[in-house]
């Protein structure tokens, strides 16, 4: 198990390095940052000074090395837009709002998606199943940004107690967290539904029923436990998609989190902030995938013994 964790951690670190390389190349190879950032009427000497100050006069490999070295210390340099603050500091300021929203959304996903998936499998073919399948289809297909605008128009504006934007009391969490959660609810519903249908049809479930185990415990214990392992492998993908959705939703609701910050920074061409955010998000995704892999290996010994490939 320790070996498995170690190998996957090394892979994760390599992945983050590769992502940092992609982010860096995109940043540098698509143009000279100074073309965009330096005022048009800046003198040659001033421009040269700025170039040296930001380390843009060095060779690309050298720039990349110092970018990595600084990034490891959490230092992404000063924000171009707010020169008195560091990119890292600005992100840290905005992070709590995003985390709180993300936690509420995850809570919704788990408490709505999983029970509905189970219900849908147990009552297969019933009206409840049809509604659940419809919800899953809708959640997979709806563009979050549009749903957010429509909910503002149809719910937030007529019902005055729900704010249309920004962060405030608990009611300001309702709409953004629901819109972020809709894709995750759909995904978990589908995954749990098909996993439950598979286990419910298996021999040991029949045995449990023959032994006289009550239907409730057959479902909750004998079927649900093995059925929850399979969907776990997809959590990484669902989480990535929800992060993407969260960025867009934060923008629509002007939520003061990191997603909205990325949008503001990109529009202001505040390069260090966008760069740091891209790297930060990639790291979150890699760590999340690592946790999923390790949990999966813990639950299913075949994986860590190398008999079954995760991808």
């Amino acid at each position: 198990m320790a070996r498995y964790v170690l190998i996957n951690s090394v892979r994760g670190v390599l992945t983050i390095l590769a992502v940092s390389f992609i982010v860096f190349s995109l940043a540098r190879l698509t143009g000279d940052p100074l073309d965009v950032l330096a005022p048009v009427d800046m003198s040659r000497e001033d421009e040269q000074a700025l170039r040296e100050q930001w380390g843009l006069d060095k060779s690309l490999p050298e720039q990349y090395r110092s970018f990595i070295a600084n990034a490891l210390r959490g230092d992404f340099g000063p924000s171009f837009l707010y020169p008195t603050e560091t990119a890292g500091g600005i992100i840290a300021d905005r992070l709590p709002a995003s985390i709180r929203l993300g936690m509420v959304a995850t809570l919704l996903v788990v408490t709505i998606g999983i029970p509905l998936g189970i219900l849908s499998a147990v009552k297969r073919g019933s009206p409840a199943d049809r509604i659940a399948k419809g919800l899953a289809l809708f959640g997979q297909s709806v563009p979050e940004f549009w749903l957010a605008i429509m909910l503002i128009w149809l719910i937030a504006v007529p019902w005055k107690f729900i704010p249309t934007s920004g962060i405030g009391s608990w009611s300001s969490y309702i709409l953004p967290s629901f819109v972020i959660a809709i894709f995750g609810i759909a995904a978990l519903l589908r995954l749990f539904r098909s996993a439950m249908l598979e286990t419910l049809g298996s021999e040991y479930i029949k045995l449990a029923r023959l032994k006289g185990v009550s239907e409730f415990w057959v479902i909750m214990k004998h079927a649900l436990k093995p059925a929850s392992i399979g969907p776990l492998t997809f959590f990484g993908g669902v989480a990535v998609r929800m992060l993407t959705g969260a960025t867009v939703v934060e923008i629509v609701f002007s939520w003061p989190g990191v997603g909205f910050l990325a949008f503001e920074a990109a529009n202001a061409r505040d390069f260090p902030v966008v760069q740091a955010l891209a790297l930060f998000t990639a790291t979150v995704i890699v760590v999340m995938n690592l946790l999923v892999d390790v949990t999966y290996a813990y639950l299913d010994p075949r994986v860590r013994l190398g008999q079954r490939s995760l991808a």
Binding site: T15, V19, P143, L147, G237, V248
Partner: protein, 315 residues
């Protein structure tokens, strides 16, 4: 019951009405229409119609079937509501935006953008992904380790943020968005093809072909590729929906198709501030995205069952 009909693609529980009626007609149908010859023989006609009439035809015939200019409007007619609402007129069936541009015309031209972006990214993604997936799955060893790691890496890329990085550097453009989406698209294809190839590699016919002395590329093209083709078609169908959602999301936040081009995402963004007084600007393009992606998902699910009974999901 239209709601039930919409799900006909996945409604395997109910036996088809036709097979319960005159056996002769049902059999005749099966004989003359071989694509109906599966257990799930309800072809999802409604989703197919939506894809044809909301995506394919508008994209191909945009200049023939529209009368208005998608980019330049009549300022005097700005914010005209849809035709069936007081103040609307059939000149602009779905109303106009704040610059007096016809919403319907822009939705039709938007289909062209969605379809172009989807075709390009999926073409690139599927060819690169299939090649790498085949190689990784068939040869194994270090090739497999490198490709698998690349798949993991590219699937961990936060594409919205990457798009914002590029936008901060050089601004939005058509090429940028195609590149950004294709960068992650190949990984989905590679992952799928790699998994399928691993399974096919162990099969009897591949072993016999090896014994017969076939070279690896011949085995890959003649025996492995045809066997992974079905899942490729399913994945490509489903990914068209994913691309349309990604493209419109990126365009919505200003990191995709640049204005004034009528991408559906840009159109929703255009109406965002006026949703209270002119809801039609945002509503209809978003509805177009929803309906097209929903139909693609239904079609993809149906194709999965239709093309490969082994992969049939329990529903």
């Amino acid at each position: 019951m239209p709601f039930g009909r919409l799900f006909s693609g996945s409604g395997r529980e109910s036996p088809t009405a036709s097979s319960e009626q005159a056996v002769g007609t049902a059999e005749g149908r099966r004989r003359w229409f071989p694509w109906l010859r599966t257990r799930s023989d309800k072809v999802p006609w409604i989703p197919i119609c939506i894809i044809v009439f909301l995506l394919l035809l508008p994209a191909l015939l945009a200049d023939v079937i529209t009368v208005h200019d998608p980019l330049r409007g009549v300022l005097a007619d700005r914010l005209t509501p849809p035709a069936w609402i007081e103040g609307g007129s059939w000149t602009y069936p779905l109303g106009t935006d704040k610059l007096g541009r016809d919403i319907l015309t822009r939705i039709i031209y938007g289909a062209r953008i969605s379809l172009t972006v989807a075709s390009l990214t999926i073409l690139v993604g599927a060819s690169v992904g299939t090649t790498l997936g085949l190689m990784a799955g068939y040869f194994g060893g270090w090739i497999d380790r490198v490709v698998s790691w690349l798949i993991d890496t590219f699937l961990s890329l936060p594409i919205v943020l990457l798009a914002l990085v590029i936008v901060a550097a050089i601004g939005p453009s058509f090429i940028t968005i195609v590149t950004i989406i294709a960068i992650t698209m190949w990984a989905y294809f590679a992952r799928q093809v790699r998994g399928d190839t691993l399974a096919v590699r162990e099969s009897e016919y591949v072993a016999r072909s090896k014994v017969a002395g076939s070279r690896p590329w011949r085995i890959l093209l003649r025996h492995v590729l045809p066997n992974v083709a079905n899942t490729l078609i399913v994945l490509a169908t489903l990914q068209v929906g994913v691309v349309i959602l990604s493209e419109s999301s990126l365009s919505f936040i200003g990191a995709g198709i640049p204005r004034p081009n009528p991408s559906w995402g840009v159109m929703v963004a255009d109406g965002r501030d006026q949703v209270l007084i002119a809801w039609w600007i945002s509503l209809f393009p978003g509805l177009a995205i929803l309906l097209v992606v929903l139909s693609l998902n239904l079609l993809g699910d149906w194709l999965r069952d239709f093309l490969d009974p082994k992969m049939r999901q329990r529903r």
